[in-house]
Structures are given as structure tokens and as C-alpha cells.
């Protein structure tokens, strides 16, 4: 019973496809001038009908590839250098005029600085004026997160929200962010500051990094 049903359904499923195939074959076997003529007509039709931009773009690309010089297969990086696309955007990087640009009634160089010190086990945020005198300080430990919980993105976000609100209460609305170090709080603290409504003018990284630093501590034995 079951095989019979199965075969039945198979036949039903297959029937249209077989029909299509046979029609195709017939069309092909007719061949000769008639078929080519039909094909030509369809090609002409397709060209005249499909004049939308994607099609013309595709044709342009093909033409470009055909006419361009063959790709150099030398050593990678021998003649070309990989440059990030962000470098093309001139407006997001500071130049010699940036320190004197006015943001929120203050020059860029006089804006308060929000230093974020990120480490593996903690995140410390401090608000300082343009000369570096600290006005506010907040860390994940001060938020009530203790031990391993200090080194989480949630703790960093909570600390950032607190310091953001406090700085808004102080009347500081625009800040430059200065991030130092790598850790779970790196992006989370910036996100927390953004959530408070603080106007973030720029993001700077000042992670101390040297190829040959003074000898670091010995490796951990795990």
C-alpha cells in the first residue's frame, strides 16, 4: 500500500517536469533556421525590454573587465598596498583646523575629556577638563560590581551611564572620549555614555603600545 502511494505521488510530482522537458526537447529538435530565428527574436526582445539599471550595470562591468589590463599575479603587496576604505573619508579624521572648531560653544581643544581606562578586570571612567584636572571618577567597582563581575560589559555600561548622568548634572554636555586599553568595557562604556544623551564629539585611542617595551612580567602558567 505504502509503496504504491509513494509511486503515485512521485508520478504526480514528476509529470509536469517531464512534460516541460519534452517540450524543451521538441523545441530544440525543431532546430534549423526557425529555432535560431526564434532565439534571436527573444534576445532582441530581452534587450529592448530589460533596460533597467541592474542589467546595464552588469554589461558595464563586463565591458570594464574585458577592456581592463590583466590582473598582476606577482607577490601580494608587491605593487599594491591594502588601504582601509575609511581613509577615503576625509571628514571623520581631524586635521590642523580641528582644535579650533567650535562644538557646543567651545573650541575642540577646550572640550572636557572623558578618559576611559579599560582593563581585563575593571573599567574606570573619569571626567577631566581640557587641562586634565579630574572632576568626576567612576568605576565598575564603585557601581557595586565586585570581583569577576567588574570585568563585564554590563558593569562598564552601568558605570558609564552613572558618570554620563553626573556630568550632565554638572553642566557638561559635550565631551571628547579618550579610550585606553583593551577589554570587555571598551565598546560597552562608549555605548553607555551615548545612552545618557551626552554629546560625544570624538573618540580617541591612546592605548600605550610598543613593539619593544621594557621587559614585561613572566608568562602565566595555566
Amino acid at each position: 500500500m505504502i509503496p504504491k502511494l509513494f509511486s503515485c505521488s512521485l508520478a504526480k510530482v514528476c509529470a509536469p517536469s517531464i512534460l516541460n522537458l519534452s517540450i524543451c526537447r521538441v523545441g530544440n529538435s525543431l532546430g534549423g533556421a526557425n529555432c535560431t530565428h526564434l532565439c534571436q527574436v527573444s534576445a532582441v526582445f530581452s534587450r529592448s525590454l530589460h533596460f533597467s539599471s541592474p542589467r546595464s550595470k552588469e554589461k558595464d562591468r563586463k565591458y570594464y573587465v574585458q577592456t581592463s589590463l590583466p590582473r598582476d599575479e606577482g607577490t601580494d603587496g608587491e605593487k599594491t598596498t591594502g588601504i582601509d576604505r575609511a581613509h577615503r573619508r576625509k571628514d571623520i579624521f581631524p586635521d590642523e583646523n580641528t582644535p579650533n572648531l567650535i562644538f557646543d560653544g567651545l573650541k575642540f581643544k577646550d572640550l572636557p575629556i572623558l578618559n576611559i581606562r579599560v582593563s581585563k578586570n575593571n573599567t574606570i571612567l573619569s571626567l577631566a577638563d581640557a587641562k586634565g584636572a579630574v572632576k568626576l571618577l567612576r568605576s565598575c567597582g564603585m557601581e557595586g560590581f565586585k570581583n569577576a563581575r567588574k570585568g563585564t560589559n554590563i558593569a562598564a555600561q552601568a558605570a558609564a551611564i552613572t558618570i554620563g548622568k553626573k556630568s550632565l548634572d554638572m553642566g557638561v554636555t559635550s565631551v571628547r572620549i579618550n579610550v585606553q586599553g583593551l577589554g570587555p568595557g571598551r565598546l560597552a562604556s562608549i555605548k553607555g555614555l551615548e545612552m545618557t544623551g551626552l554629546n560625544i564629539v570624538s573618540i580617541t585611542d591612546s592605548t600605550r603600545c610598543s613593539e619593544n617595551p621594557p621587559r614585561p612580567r613572566k608568562q602565566r602558567k595555566i
Binding site: K62, V65, Q66, E73, T75, D76, D84, A86, D91, I92, F93, P94, T98, P99, F108, K109, R176, N178, V179, L182, R186, L187, I190, K191, L193, E194, N199, I200, V201, S202, I203, T204, D205, S206, T207, R208, C209, S210, E211, P213, R215, P216, R217, K218, Q219, R220
Partner: protein, 88 residues
């Protein structure tokens, strides 16, 4: 003190309040320049034998990656006159 000019080097200005994008640009550029890698590597002292091994490994990996990427490019190339030679 850092030797580079503060708030001029390694700085991205936030445009149209898009803080997330600016933070991502900073992170992407720093990781592309290998600054994060260097930072991670220099947290603990790397003994000379470890440095030798790491550099040899990186050399071998670079050669292998280059060859492999070229092979993949060759197999995946599409702009040829007869896209599937020998097939109808």
C-alpha cells in the same frame, strides 16, 4: 607621555551622532595596523625561543595563505570566454 599628538592621532570625529560607527572605525583601523595584536603580545614576556617559533610560523602561514588565496581565485574565476569548457 605619548609621543604622538593627543586628539589628533588615533582620533575619529563623530558625525551625525553616529557614535557606534566612529568607535568601530577606531577599532578597525587599530586592528588593521596590528596595534591590538602588538598590545596583546606584549602583556607577558615572550622568551626568545617563543619569538623564533612565532615568527617562523607566521612566515610559513603567509606563504601558505598567499598560495591558497591564489588557488581559490583561480578556481573561482568567472570572466572567461567559455565559462564551462567541455560542457554543453
Amino acid at each position: 607621555m605619548l609621543r604622538h599628538a593627543r586628539f589628533l592621532a588615533r582620533t575619529v570625529l563623530v558625525k551625525d551622532g553616529n557614535v557606534d560607527a566612529a568607535a568601530k572605525v577606531v577599532n578597525r583601523l587599530l586592528s588593521a595596523d596590528g596595534i591590538f595584536d602588538t598590545w596583546r603580545r606584549t602583556r607577558f614576556y615572550e622568551k626568545p625561543y617563543q619569538m623564533r617559533r612565532r615568527i617562523n610560523y607566521q612566515k610559513c602561514k603567509a606563504v601558505y595563505d598567499e598560495d591558497m588565496s591564489r588557488k581559490i581565485q583561480f578556481v573561482l574565476r568567472k570572466n572567461r570566454k567559455d565559462p564551462f569548457p567541455g560542457c554543453y
